[in-house]
């Protein structure tokens, strides 16, 4: 069998395998040998695909790809579901319907892939890797609807099985109907018999969970309310048993009233004392006023007396002056001169009262009533 033909063989030719082959027989003349040139062949008894399936299954199982220990648990509450399937057909429709019914606000990210034919396996494996690299979902649903083994073959291809086993995101496989088994199912973390069931396994029923939370909340509230009620009842029971405080309160009130009275009384006494003291001090303060008043009186009296005596004195003086004035003309020397008398005085003005004072030839002044005359002493005659 030439290499070109071998490449199209889906199974591996093993020793002891019984085959139905198609080809031509050639003869190598120099050695007289026959050669069978096979261009197509298939296993005898079972189908080609079945054989390939079994062979790959044995190989991958030996590698541990299907080990239960490798299977990851599914997240309880995924936020985003990745869907790897064909955009056309009933499968994706069913999946979305179920997912949305169970969990209306779930996020869906669809990676459309061809699910059969040339390039399908590569596309499926590529999509699984893309989700892993981008961590774009919490769970992946990989699958397609039912079909012949030939139709489902992409899910038995080694590249797909390895991608599923190596995925960092948990995968639920959903290929064909319940009776269809693929290697993808063995490698997946969970195998769903149909795409709808896969959707059910992927998400919980949100309504149930909300109900569950609400029920627990309700139980919390009820239990606590009951416990609080019991505690209140115990408290009020204890309060009733406490000795009534009114008696001691009364005592305290009396004591308080007494203290009040004493306070008021002592304050009154004290106030009275203080008032008396104040009055005394006021009197003391008034005394200087009286002193001043008395002094003023005395001063006034003295002033009046002084005034009076001054007036008297002045009257006496006036009287004496009048008498003096009346007597004064009698003493006027000029009146005597008019009666013939002469006043003789020395040259210096001194009046000559005695003849002995005179000297010979001394100039004298004679004053008459109507004037004066200078004369000289001619001779002394004693």
């Amino acid at each position: 069998m030439f290499r070109g033909h071998l490449r199209h063989l889906r199974f591996k030719i093993e020793n002891g395998l019984s085959l139905i082959a198609h080809g031509s027989i050639s003869i190598y003349e120099p050695r007289s040998t026959y050669q069978l040139l096979v261009d197509r062949c298939e296993p005898d008894g079972i189908g080609t695909l079945q054989l390939a399936f079994e062979q790959l299954k044995t190989k991958l199982k030996a590698e541990g790809l299907f080990d239960p220990a490798h299977k990851r648990p599914l997240p309880a509450l995924p936020r985003t579901i990745g869907l790897i399937t064909s955009l056309s057909g009933a499968v994706i429709h069913d999946m979305i319907t179920v997912l949305k019914r169970r969990y209306p606000n779930i996020n869906l990210l669809i990676h459309p892939v061809p699910v059969q034919g040339e390039g399908a396996a590569l596309a499926i494996a590529g999509a699984i890797e893309w989700f892993g690299q981008n961590q774009a979902a919490d769970i992946l649903l990989v699958g397609r609807g039912g079909g012949s083994m030939e139709d489902l073959w992409a899910f038995n291809e080694e590249i797909v099985v390895r991608a599923i086993a190596g995925s960092s995101i948990p995968i639920i496989s959903a290929v064909g109907h319940e009776t269809d088994v693929t290697l993808a199912d063995f490698a997946a973390d969970l195998r769903a018999p149909t795409p709808s069931v896969a959707a059910e396994l992927a998400v919980p029923e949100r309504r149930q969970l909300l109900l569950n939370v609400a029920r627990h909340q309700q139980r919390l509230t009820t239990t606590l309310e009951t416990q609080l009620l019991r505690a209140r009842q115990r408290l009020s029971a204890s309060l009733h048993r406490l000795p009534t405080p009114s008696q001691s309160l009364d005592r305290a009130r009396l004591h308080l009233a007494d203290l009040e009275d004493r306070l008021v009384q002592s304050t009154h006494l004290r106030l009275r004392d203080e008032r008396l003291k104040l009055a005394e001090i006021r009197q003391l303060l008034q005394a200087p006023d009286q002193l001043i008043m008395k002094a003023q009186n005395r001063l006034e009296t003295a002033g009046l007396k002084l005034n009076h005596s001054l007036t008297t004195l002045m009257t006496q003086m006036k009287t004496r002056l009048q008498q003096a004035v009346l007597r004064l003309p009698l003493l006027d020397p000029l009146k005597i001169l008019s009666r013939g008398y002469t006043i003789v005085s020395h040259a210096d003005g001194r009046v000559v009262t005695r003849g002995a004072q005179l000297k010979e030839n001394e100039p004298l002044l004679l004053r008459f009533a109507d004037g004066q005359t200078h004369v000289r002493v001619e001779a002394k005659t004693n």
């Binding site: 949305k100 209306p104 869906l108 627990h216 919390l220």
Partner: protein
């Protein structure tokens, strides 16, 4: 420090929260907790319930698809209205 505190108060995930909530309810219902502890448990329980509810309301329900552009690079796009009509019966028409 703040992060550590948060991790002590905030449950790891929905499962852990609902498990803790169930445990608290059972303990409370057994009626053996002193009142102070009961009230603390109640508060914790209500917080856990809130957390669970928040988690259940977390996702926004969007539907997107991965498409390869001309350069062969994958990008995430929202579904067209036609695709939505086709795939999401709950939103556009009854089954």
């Amino acid at each position: 420090m703040a992060k550590k505190e948060k991790s002590e108060n905030t449950p790891k995930n929905f499962e852990a929260a609902i498990l803790e909530l169930e445990g608290l309810v059972q303990k409370l219902e057994a009626g053996e907790l002193p009142l102070d502890d009961a009230m603390n448990s109640f508060e914790t329980g209500m917080r856990l319930a809130k957390f669970c509810e928040d988690r259940l309301n977390d996702a926004s329900g969007r539907i997107e698809k991965v498409m390869k552009d001309f350069a062969g690079k994958s990008e995430v796009l929202p579904l067209t209205q036609d695709e939505l009509d086709e795939l999401n019966p709950g939103e556009s028409h009854d089954l």
